[in-house]
Each structure stands twice: as structure tokens, then as C-alpha cells.
Amino acid sequence: MSTMTINLKIWRQKNTEAKGEFQVYKLNDVNEHMSFLEMLDVLNENLIKEGKDPVEFDYDCREGICGSCNLVVNGRAHGPKRLTAVCQLHMRTYSDGDTIVIEPPRAAAFPVIKDLVVDRSAFDRIIEAGGYVSVKTGAAPEANLIPVQEEVANQAFDYATCIGCGACVAACPNSSASLFTASKLAHLNRLPQGKPEREKRTVAMVQQMEAEGFGDCSNYAECEAVCPVGISISSIAEMRKNYLKAIF
């Protein structure tokens, strides 16, 4: 088991209004089996022992399924590995002496709360605008009551895997939330339960996405590249198709 020294350059910002700046830290004895977030835990333990303010960062499950973590590591959302949330990134990816720059996702619609933690409630408001199915749920219905073709079910599930981490916004050169919005639409719009509200939902969520201050999509597809669950930008094409159908 080898250990290494890692140089960190981390964005520190006291609150939303404060002006942020980078601070440099040196971390010795970093274990290659540590996850990226465990490495930050070690840094924070050291900082607390020194009586300093620890670095705030978001996390919850640390299993790559909750979408809480969203750090931009050396200019890439969730770090260098594809289909990997930053909590699932391990220090063996790095070498002794490496410098790692850590920034929060940067977007006007994601204001920094503190350090690396941003307010992603804009996503919640996009969901509130139409990311649901208006039916009386009651008790769980019999599983095969509404037949769904396997292919449709699989596609819907693929899009439903979006964990709302916001990496798509972080990585988009225009800070567009199109992949997030489109994945939710593609998930709900293709299922029999979601179809009746398809047009209304598409227009409402698109409107909310713009109202939140996210940028325009330029089809860079960087969002798909950084998405930890690999949502395809085909969903964005589909969103436009459904939008056209809603208008005409």
C-alpha cells in the first residue's frame, strides 16, 4: 500500500455574497485506497485540529446513487473518470505530488452557499413545474395492470437514473440544464402514466429551466460525457420534438 503527497487548490467562499478565492493545502500520507471525499475528510480533520474552518462540500450516500456530491475536479465535473460520481473516485487515480484543483459547480442558477456547496434548488423547481404524474395514487396497483413494452420500460428506466447532481450544468460551457430537464421529460413522457400530460409538462419544465437562469444548449454534449449515470443527449433531441408537438 503506497501513500502519496497531494497538493490541493480549493475554492473557499464564506457565503453567497462573499468573494471567493483559492487556498492551497498540502496533504501528506494520502492512501491510494481512499475515496476522493475521504481524502477531503482527512484534510478537514487536519484543519479542525489546527483550529481552522473545514472545507464545506456536499455528500450523502458516498455510493454514487444520491447525486449530492458534485465537485469540479481539475476542470471536470466529478473528476477525470467517466460514469463515476466524485464520491466513487479513488485516490489511486492520482500520483504522488499531483496538484488537484477543486471548484464548485459554477452557474448563476447554482449560487454558492459556502466553499464547494451550491444551492441546487433550481432543479427542484423545474421538477415542481411538471416533473410528476397527476394521478390519484392510492394503494399500489397490480403490477401488470398497465402493460408497458419492455423496450419502453428500459428506456424510461435509463432516463430515470438521473440523480440530479447537476454535473451537466457544471460542465456545460453555457451552463445549460437541458440534460437534467430532458432526462426527466424523457422518463415520464414515454410511459403510459405520463403520456396524457406530455405536452403540458414539456412546455412547463422548459419554461422553468429558462426562468431559473440556466443558459442555452449548444449541443456540445459535454453533459453526456460528465453524467455519472450516462444519460444520453438523445433526451434533449426528444425534448425539442415534444416541444414542437406541444406548440403545433
Binding site: 453555457n174 419554461q207 426528444e238
Partner: protein, 235 residues
């Protein structure tokens, strides 16, 4: 439901309009290239083509105004998207890089605004040179018509600035279309994970064919091609 105007100016509407106007502009330049290639045809092919176009009279003006409107809408939306970038991300990253894989970030996609603005300026000069420029007249089938061919050969054979300037701008056109054609497919709702690679390849091929087609002619003329057929003296 939003009105048609609200829809057209929404984020998704803007993208659909960009794709739609883009497709129209690509079809136009394919048509334009066809006209340019007439220079390799019969000696009077290019002027005859120009005469046929002018024979459309008022219809030609309808087409010109329509084309101008499409061009301006495309440019306006593109520039406004580019200007909004800063507003959507006031504080930029200190370090930024692409993750590769399915990402379509490239020199072509990252320079869309730059190549687009250069093409916009180019078109103004281009119209001034070839549509509004002084032209001799020639007789075709006993009718007087503009000698477009002489103007083209005169312009490109006598000026390295024009010949290379045009050729270089056509490289930028290729770069613009490299991302643009593929982007139009996605903007117009053509989805499908498998067809994505095909769409990107089709886009690249269209970009290369059009760029090479357009830049070949000024360079060909500059290096002496077409002189023997010209009515004026090449230097």
C-alpha cells in the same frame, strides 16, 4: 400553452429555429456551390446561369429577402446565445477541460460564435464584390447580360488577398458546419443513440465537401486556372 412568438423565443424554440435556419442555409450554399461549379462548364455556363436567375425577376427578390431574413435570424440567435453565456456563469472556472468520450467539444464547436461572426462580415464583403460590383456585359443568345464570370476571374486572379482571404474563410465555413450540421439534427429532434454517430459523420462529410468545393475555385483561378476562357487578361 405559449403563443407561437413565446415558443419561438423560448430556449428550446431558439434552438429549433437555429437548426431550421441552419438547414435552410446549408441547402442554399449547396445550391450556390452548384452555381460556382458552372465555371468549369461550357464557356458561357456561369453567365447563362446568372441570366436564368435574373429572369425570375420579382421572385428573385422574394428569394433574396427570404434568404437575408433566414441568415439574420440564424446570426441573431447565435450571437445572443453566445452573449448569454456570461450571464449564466458570471464566475468562470480557473481550470476547465472536456471529459472526452461522447463530448462534441472541439475547435469546431467552441469557435461557432467566432466563425459565425467572421462569416457574417464575409457575406457583406462578398455581396459587395460580386452582386454589387461593376460588371461588363456579354451577349448570350442575343441578349445582354452581366459578365459574372469575368468579374470572378478578374477578382481572384489579380488579388492574393481576395483569393486567399476567400479560401481561408471557406475553411472557417467548414469548421462552422463541422459542428453545425450535426447540431441541427439534434436541434430538430432527431434522437437515437445509434444514429448519433452517423449524424456526426454526415455533418463532417458535408462540412468538408462544401469547404473544399468553395475554396478550390478562388485558388484554382489565382494559380492560373480559368484564364484561357476569360475575356479579360489574367496577370
Amino acid at each position: 400553452m405559449p403563443t407561437l412568438l413565446q415558443a419561438a423565443t423560448s430556449q428550446v424554440g431558439r434552438k429549433i429555429l437555429t437548426g431550421l435556419t441552419g438547414v435552410f442555409l446549408v441547402l442554399f450554399i449547396i445550391f450556390h456551390l452548384g452555381g460556382n461549379l458552372a465555371i468549369f462548364g461550357e464557356p458561357d455556363a456561369m453567365n447563362r446561369y446568372s441570366m436564368i436567375l435574373h429572369d425570375f425577376g420579382p421572385l428573385l427578390w422574394v428569394a433574396r429577402i427570404g434568404l437575408l431574413a433566414v441568415f439574420l435570424i440564424h446570426a441573431w440567435i447565435g450571437i445572443s446565445i453566445w452573449l448569454k453565456k456570461r450571464k449564466a456563469r458570471p464566475e468562470n472556472y480557473a481550470v476547465y477541460s472536456s471529459k472526452g468520450g461522447p463530448s462534441k467539444q472541439s475547435l469546431s464547436s467552441r469557435t461557432m460564435a467566432f466563425t459565425g461572426i467572421v462569416l457574417l462580415i464575409f457575406v457583406i464583403f462578398h455581396i459587395n464584390t460580386f452582386a454589387l460590383g461593376d460588371m461588363e456585359t456579354v451577349l448570350i443568345d442575343g441578349r445582354e447580360t452581366h459578365d459574372v464570370k469575368a468579374l470572378v476571374i478578374d477578382t481572384f486572379s489579380n488579388s492574393a488577398f481576395y483569393a486567399f482571404g476567400y479560401a481561408f474563410t471557406m475553411l472557417l465555413l467548414g469548421a462552422h458546419l463541422g459542428h453545425g450540421v450535426w447540431s441541427a439534427f439534434i436541434s430538430l429532434g432527431m434522437s437515437g443513440k445509434k444514429s448519433s454517430a452517423i449524424m456526426y459523420t454526415v455533418g463532417t462529410v458535408i462540412a468538408i465537401v462544401l469547404a473544399v468545393g468553395f475554396l478550390f475555385i478562388p485558388l484554382y483561378i489565382y494559380f492560373g486556372g480559368g484564364c484561357e476562357a476569360a475575356l479579360i487578361q489574367c496577370t
